[in-house]
């Protein structure tokens, strides 16, 4: 059994998903059912939870690459095992139908099907989420947002839905709402380093380029610092710290002293220029180290995303060039 299908790498590329879906014949060959009658079959069956996760992931990558025949076989096997009324099977079946929808009419039909399921049982959270996802992919973000807000009214501890809602707001450039949603996520999972980094990114993007952006930039810098504190050698956090401190340095030089203690700039006083400079230096040093070591392929440093490392090298090089001049 392939371990890659069981736990696929993050942000899977088209080439990777093609490779994954090409494993379909081997995976589907595995038979878990036993030929013996009921009580004995429990002893001889080779069924594990992993096999079903594998088949589900296989179904998703087959849907992505357009291997419709294998996708159908996966779906049939899952349905045979878990029954048609299982919540997850309902969602997978819906995804299968969505993938084949040719036009808007077929999509509307999918939507109606979800509505019908929810009419019978409105507690099926997975189906409700799926419905929001379909609305988003039909380019109806307003409806998707309303659906998600309703869902979160019922289940306010659903971090996945909060994170999705934040992205939806972000796509509509409603930054303060997006930030609020991510803060809700952090209330539930306060140690999620990736959420701290994402919050820093949104704060950085949302702070306007005129002079009163100080509060957002300072907050963004603090978020990046927290993400680095929670996760050693976090490339995304250091990258953000470098970018935000660089902009903050130029802002701090233009701002007058009296504005620094202005309560408009946040509850906490902004850091001194010296601190920000130190942070900037530390981030630059760390980024250069990560680029050097991961390009050299040192042991323990090979796990970084090559594209991210490349972007970091560009950033560091650009910075050193301006200093040279």
């Amino acid at each position: 059994m392939s371990a890659e299908l069981l736990y696929p790498p993050p942000q899977i590329s088209p080439a990777d998903s093609l490779r994954l879906s090409q494993q379909a014949p081997q995976v589907l060959k595995i038979s878990v059912s036993s030929s013996l009658p009921y009580p004995l079959s429990l002893l001889t069956s080779s069924e594990t939870p992993e096999i079903w996760t594998t088949i589900e992931n296989l179904l998703l990558s087959c849907l992505r690459t357009g291997d419709d025949k294998s996708a159908r076989v996966c779906l049939d096997r899952l349905t045979e095992r878990f029954g048609e009324t299982n919540e997850k099977i309902l969602v997978l079946r819906g995804m299968y139908q969505e993938a084949f929808a040719e036009d808007n009419k077929a999509l509307e039909k999918s939507l109606e099907r979800y509505d019908k399921i929810l009419e019978e049982d409105s507690t099926l959270m997975l189906v409700r989420k799926r419905r929001a996802a379909l609305l988003k992919s039909m380019s109806r973000p307003t409806n998707a947002i309303t659906t998600l807000v309703d869902l979160l009214d019922v289940s306010p501890t659903d971090v996945e839905a909060w994170a999705e809602l934040s992205e939806l707001y972000f796509a509509q450039s409603l930054y303060s709402q997006a930030i609020y949603c991510l803060e809700e996520v952090l209330l539930i999972t306060p140690n999620a380093w990736s959420v701290h980094a994402r919050l820093g990114e949104i704060l950085y993007i949302s702070s306007p380029s005129d002079s009163n952006s100080l509060k957002g930039l300072v907050e963004s810098m603090r978020r990046f610092c927290r993400s680095i504190e929670l996760c050693d050698d976090y490339l995304r956090g250091y990258y953000g710290l470098k970018v935000s401190t660089k902009r903050l340095l130029s802002e701090l030089q233009t701002v007058s002293k009296s504005a620094l203690s202005d309560p408009q700039n946040g509850d906490l006083a902004p850091p001194s220029v010296k601190t920000v400079e130190k942070l900037n230096e530390a981030a630059t040093r760390k980024l250069a180290e990560i680029v050097r070591r991961s390009t050299a392929g040192e042991a323990g440093w090979e796990g970084f995303d090559p594209a991210e490392v490349h972007a970091t090298r560009e950033l560091v090089n650009k910075d050193t060039q301006t200093i040279d001049r």
Binding site: Y7, E50, A133, G300
Partner: protein, 144 residues
């Protein structure tokens, strides 16, 4: 490591079995002299040192237990970091490194990946379109 720990465990178990057997034999050869009077709980009636186990059996038992413990410690998987930041950093770096099924079963994945990927909200059609684009681009490159 696997071979050494297995060897230690095996030798330790054989020695422990031998020690237990010897102790049993020894006690059946030299039965305890029970007092004829009904047992009283004063310290005077405890068996004297003449009936205790010989030193070699005691040493063998201790040695075998030590051997088994060493074998188990050597054979166990490497320890995971207990500091949050170290653990998180290791996770982030190992996310792209291939793992075995056993490691996945032990649950070494990133618990916060769900917040970035949100599997409940996968955009099936978008992913499909993206893949088609990728194939078309590859075809164009091949045609050139």
């Amino acid at each position: 490591m696997g071979f050494t720990s297995n060897l230690f465990n095996l030798v330790g178990l054989v020695l422990l079995g031998h020690a237990v057997y010897s102790a049993h034999e020894h006690s059946s050869q030299n039965p305890l002299h029970l007092p004829s009077s009904p047992p009283s709980f004063s310290p005077l009636t405890t068996p004297t040192s003449t009936t205790s186990l010989p030193t070699d059996i005691v040493l063998e038992t201790l040695f075998s237990v030590l051997l088994i413990s060493t074998g188990i410690v050597l054979g166990s998987s490497s320890l995971r970091p207990i500091q949050w930041s170290k653990w998180a950093g290791q996770l982030e770096r190992e996310e792209r490194v291939k793992k075995s099924v056993k490691e996945i079963r032990e649950g070494t994945g990133n618990p916060y990946r769900i917040l970035e990927e949100r599997p409940g909200f996968v955009d099936v059609r978008g992913k499909r379109k993206e893949f088609m684009e990728w194939v078309r681009k590859g075809d164009d490159l091949a045609a050139k």
